[in-house]
């Protein structure tokens, strides 16, 4: 299903952007996925070498220039790409004055003190659509996204799944668990899944916890979903750990590992997250 959604929303063969789209450089993976969803191939994106590890889908078309790491994007190189528009986030606000010397900068805010990343991602998609002459495509994409999330919600109603905790393993002893203020939480609210983790989270909506904390204060029937990438030594170590093995969700086989989803992304990542999770829950039913 995830593949189908990707095929429906992202044109597969993007040799080049349509002629009326400006040359764009994106300093954020989430913004880059939105550009691709609107049919615009950015000229440059940060850290393209790690795209397949953290974003996975949509795939990054070949020929997109790697402009270095987000906090220290290569300005010399961005200048050489001669973009008409630079898309950035508050995370790289320290670069805005420099980037403005190259091209106009549009800052898209997804994560802020008051949370609501999905709402902000939807508003951001419209902003990006306007900026790259794809306003109609943005509206169409958001309508389609809405339909997909509605469908996910109906499928979840039929499944009535237990509360679920969503994590990225840091190592065999620690994990980032996602909760309030995370993109995941907003999607869960939208499609009607209860998050098993109700503890406090940081600005980006996650909390780094020891493995055992996942069994504290969480419902006894919870399921754990871990997203890739997972370091190679984590799974073998966990398999040997008595504490891990006897946690209720492990002992009763309610642990799943799903392919990577950009946890700090925009609407494309929200859709990928929703469809991966719903598909998986259906496959279990």
């Amino acid at each position: 299903m995830g593949g189908l959604i990707g095929a429906a929303l992202v044109p597969r063969c993007l040799a080049a952007s349509p002629p009326d789209a400006p040359r764009v450089v994106s300093l954020d993976y989430g913004i880059a996925t939105t550009l691709l969803a609107l049919g615009v191939v950015p000229a440059g994106v940060v850290a393209t070498v790690e795209w397949d590890k953290w974003v996975v889908e949509p795939a990054l078309p070949p020929g997109v220039v790697d402009i270095g790491r987000d906090l220290e994007a290569n300005l010399e190189l961005i200048a050489a790409l001669d973009p008409e528009l630079v898309l950035a986030t508050p995370y790289v606000a320290h670069l805005t004055p420099s980037l403005e010397r190259i091209a106009p900068v549009l800052t898209i805010t997804i994560f802020a003190e008051d949370g609501k990343p999905l709402e902000r991602a939807i508003a951001g998609t419209r902003l990006i659509g306007d900026a790259v002459n794809r306003a109609a495509a943005a509206e169409a994409y958001l309508r389609e996204a809405d339909r997909i999330l509605d469908r996910c919600r109906r499928r979840i109603e039929a499944l009535n799944p237990p509360p679920i905790a969503f994590v990225n393993f840091m190592d065999a002893r620690h994990a980032r668990v996602f909760g309030r203020s995370s993109l995941y939480q907003d999607v869960l609210n939208r499609i009607g899944i209860e998050n098993a983790w109700t503890g406090p989270t940081n600005y980006w909506g996650f909390q780094t916890v020891a493995i055992e904390d996942l069994a504290r204060g969480t419902p006894s029937d919870m399921r754990l979903i871990a997203f890739e990438p997972i370091l190679p030594d984590v799974e073998p170590t966990l398999e040997k750990s008595p504490l891990w093995r006897r946690l209720p969700f492990v002992e009763q086989g309610r642990v799943s590992i799903l392919p990577g989803v950009l946890m700090f992304g925009m609407v494309p990542s929200a859709l990928r997250f929703a469809s991966l999770v719903v598909d998986h829950l259906e496959s279990l039913a």
Binding site: F206, A215, S220, D233
Partner: protein
């Protein structure tokens, strides 16, 4: 005087036991009445809390024993796994193995960690041997190696930030356990090493009689030292490989034992070990209690350093055993020196040529090497020029700071990194980061300057108590502050706050993001301070002759020291803002100048300013080009290249001195 060690050990043990009981007591009681079905708390008690408490006790005891042995072997009250770089050596070895040869870890984490500790120890001893293993030189050498290992590990994290995330937590020393594996694997190893240490008590005790006395008792001093060192190394490496870097327990516990009045070595080893175990257990219980309330994630290893480094500051005035006799001035300046003007002109020409190359040699978007043609200058040079100018300026500024410090302390291993002022600047940056979500240069500079002033005042207060600014105290106060900084940054990073990465970027020292305003301010302030340093050249010529000579020549030594420290602090803050607290430029450049035959203060200041500028320009160019389009920070590059360079330099100087 009867020893108070049993009292202290009992108090610590009671406190540790009390807190641990608060943590796990109710669960422990519940354990006796087995409930039916699954009980998370019981599981956590059995497989997390209990092994965690046992691991804490074992690790604390092992580190304390290692520290006590090291202090005896080195005849140095400040020796410990932390201050000798053993823990950071193990940390770096594990980081490198994780990234480049994961197979080695399967072969044995302990072995990898031990190799790292051993390498660190060899380097530290090599550096310290030429100063007759004076306590001061040894700890300084340990600090240099620690900084170096930290710099390389940071570079690895920057290049692989996501991949090394777990190492981050590891580096900060989390004691979290999920079964008994680690506790049970530690137990036999530590038991064997403790047994060996017990066998060594008599020979170690005999070392207090001096080498002749040792031989008279039928022991070989060299063999005793090597045996003691090996045991301490093994203890540190095993702990580092099991739970990570636990800062300062190995220094604090033996110090507490000694200050409590334990005289005999045997009792000192025993009490240090017990105090260390109780202390780490107590700290860990505190961390768990506080973290439980704040629902936060704080690694115990960072917290021990948070406690430990201020305690070290407080202990400094009491460490009178480290007599001034241990602390030798650098040999008086050699009178025969080459014509300074010609050397300086040649040096300046070389630096100018280097700057032009750095400006024009670059890479194209597809990664090819190319000279930047005139037609591209308008697009490319506005980005490169300020970076090169500011690199030159920052290098020169830190080089002058280093020259001042080396002349002031009469120690050729002194440098701005060691003064603690760079650490202060970064503390200011941390505050700025939490006050403003994205502080600009002006805000960062203001807070860094405030941090610098705060550290300077603290150093003057702690180091200046009782009889003026004693150089070794100031430097050790700086070490403690640097460790405190590491602890804070470690805790922030381990908590997974993405702001920690922003901080790491600043700390790594990149010329990235400087503009002409920054460059102009740096140049202007730097020029004023360097001119002031040149104007105090007469003082600087006299200071290395020692306090006695200085006073005899009629200089108000206390006031002179305050002025020079102030200058060096200002220069350090300015340079740190540009290339971070880790670069070794302030250490290297004065040596290069001296190697070039520039011995008197004024030529050495100018020569080291030029050399320092050149070093940072090269480091910046390598950082911009080596991993293009990714950029590596000049500060870390210069640290990773600079430290081995310094070792070569020192080694060469020693052999030449030996020949002549």
């Amino acid at each position: 005087m009867s020893s108070r060690a049993p009292l202290i050990a009992c108090a610590l043990t009671l406190a540790a036991a009390g807190l641990t009981w608060v943590l796990i007591g109710p669960d422990l009681i519940a354990l006796t009445s087995p409930s039916d079905g699954f009980d998370v708390d019981q599981l956590v008690l059995l497989y997390s809390s209990l092994p965690r408490a046992v691991t804490a006790i074992l690790c604390g005891a092992a580190l304390a024993l290692a520290g006590a042995i090291l202090q005896q072997v080195m005849r140095n009250p400040l020796a410990s796994p932390t201050t000798l770089g053993l823990s950071s050596g193990a940390h770096l070895a594990l980081a490198i193995a994780t990234l480049f040869a994961p197979g080695l870890l399967g072969f044995g984490r302990d072995v990898v960690a031990l190799c790292g500790s051993l390498a660190a120890a060899l380097v530290v001893l090599g550096l310290a041997s030429r100063r007759g293993f004076s306590p001061f030189a040894l700890v300084l050498a340990g600090l240099i190696v620690s900084l170096y290992c930290g710099a390389v590990a940071s570079l690895l994290i920057l290049l692989n930030e996501q991949y090394l995330a777990s190492l981050f937590i590891w580096g900060a020393g989390s004691l979290a356990q999920q079964d008994w594996t680690i506790a049970l694997s530690l137990l036999p190893r530590l038991a064997v090493l403790c047994g060996l240490a017990a066998l060594l008590i008599r020979p170690l005790q005999s070392m207090e009689l001096g080498d002749a006395g040792v031989r008279a008792l039928g022991f070989s001093p060299g063999v005793i030292r090597i045996c003691g060192l090996t045991i301490a190394l093994a203890l540190s490496a095993i702990v580092a490989s099991a739970v990570g870097v636990i800062g300062f327990i190995g220094l604090i516990a033996p110090t507490v034992a000694r200050l409590a009045g334990v005289r005999r070595l045997g009792s000192r080893l025993v009490w240090s070990t017990l105090i260390g175990g109780a202390l780490l257990c107590l700290t860990d219980a505190l961390v768990q209690l506080l973290a439980g309330a704040a629902q936060d994630f704080v690694p115990t290893g960072a917290v021990t350093a948070l406690f430990g480094s201020p305690l070290l500051l407080l202990l400094l005035p009491r460490l009178r055993t480290m007599a001034a006799a241990d602390f030798q001035a650098v040999p008086a300046p050699v009178l025969k020196s080459r014509p300074a003007v010609r050397t300086l002109v040649l040096l300046a020409l070389g630096v100018a040529g280097l700057a032009v190359i750095a400006l024009l040699a670059g890479r194209t978007p597809d990664g090819r090497w190319a000279w930047t043609g005139i037609e591209e200058w308008a697009a490319i040079l506005p980005w490169r020029t300020p970076r090169i100018v500011v690199a030159l300026a920052a290098g020169a500024i830190l080089a002058v700071a280093g020259t001042l410090l080396q002349r002031l302390t009469g120690n050729e291993m002194a440098s701005p990194e060691v003064l603690g002022v760079s650490a202060g600047a970064v503390f200011g940056l941390i505050v700025a980061l939490f006050v403003f979500s994205a502080p600009d240069w002006g805000q960062r500079a203001t807070f860094a300057a405030l941090g610098t002033v705060a550290v300077l005042v603290a150093v003057l207060l702690f180091g200046g108590r009782s009889g003026g600014l004693v150089p070794e105290r100031v430097v050790l106060a700086g070490i403690a502050l640097g460790a405190l900084l590491d602890a804070v940054v470690g805790a922030l990073s381990a908590a997974g706050d993405p702001r920690a990465f922003l901080l790491l970027h600043w700390m790594s020292g990149s010329t990235y993001g400087v503009d002409w305003n920054t460059t102009a301010i740096t140049l202007a302030l730097g020029s004023v301070l360097v001119l002031a340093a040149l104007m105090s050249r007469r003082w600087l010529d006299i200071l290395p002759l020692g306090a006695g000579a200085t006073t005899a020549l009629g200089l108000p030594i206390a006031r002179v020291r305050v002025v020079i420290y102030g200058l060096a602090a200002g220069l350090t803050a300015l340079g740190t803002l540009v290339i971070g607290p880790l670069s070794f430029v302030g250490l290297m450049a004065p040596h290069i100048a001296r190697e070039l035959g520039l011995r008197r203060a004024a030529p050495q200041i100018i020569g080291s300013a030029l050399s320092g500028g050149a070093l940072v320009v090269i480091a910046d160019w390598v950082g911009r080009m080596a991993a293009f389009p990714y950029q590596m920070p000049a500060g870390l590059i210069s640290a990773t290249v600079g430290a081995p360079f310094l070792l070569l330099l020192l080694g060469r100087r020693r052999s030449r001195n030996a020949d002549s």
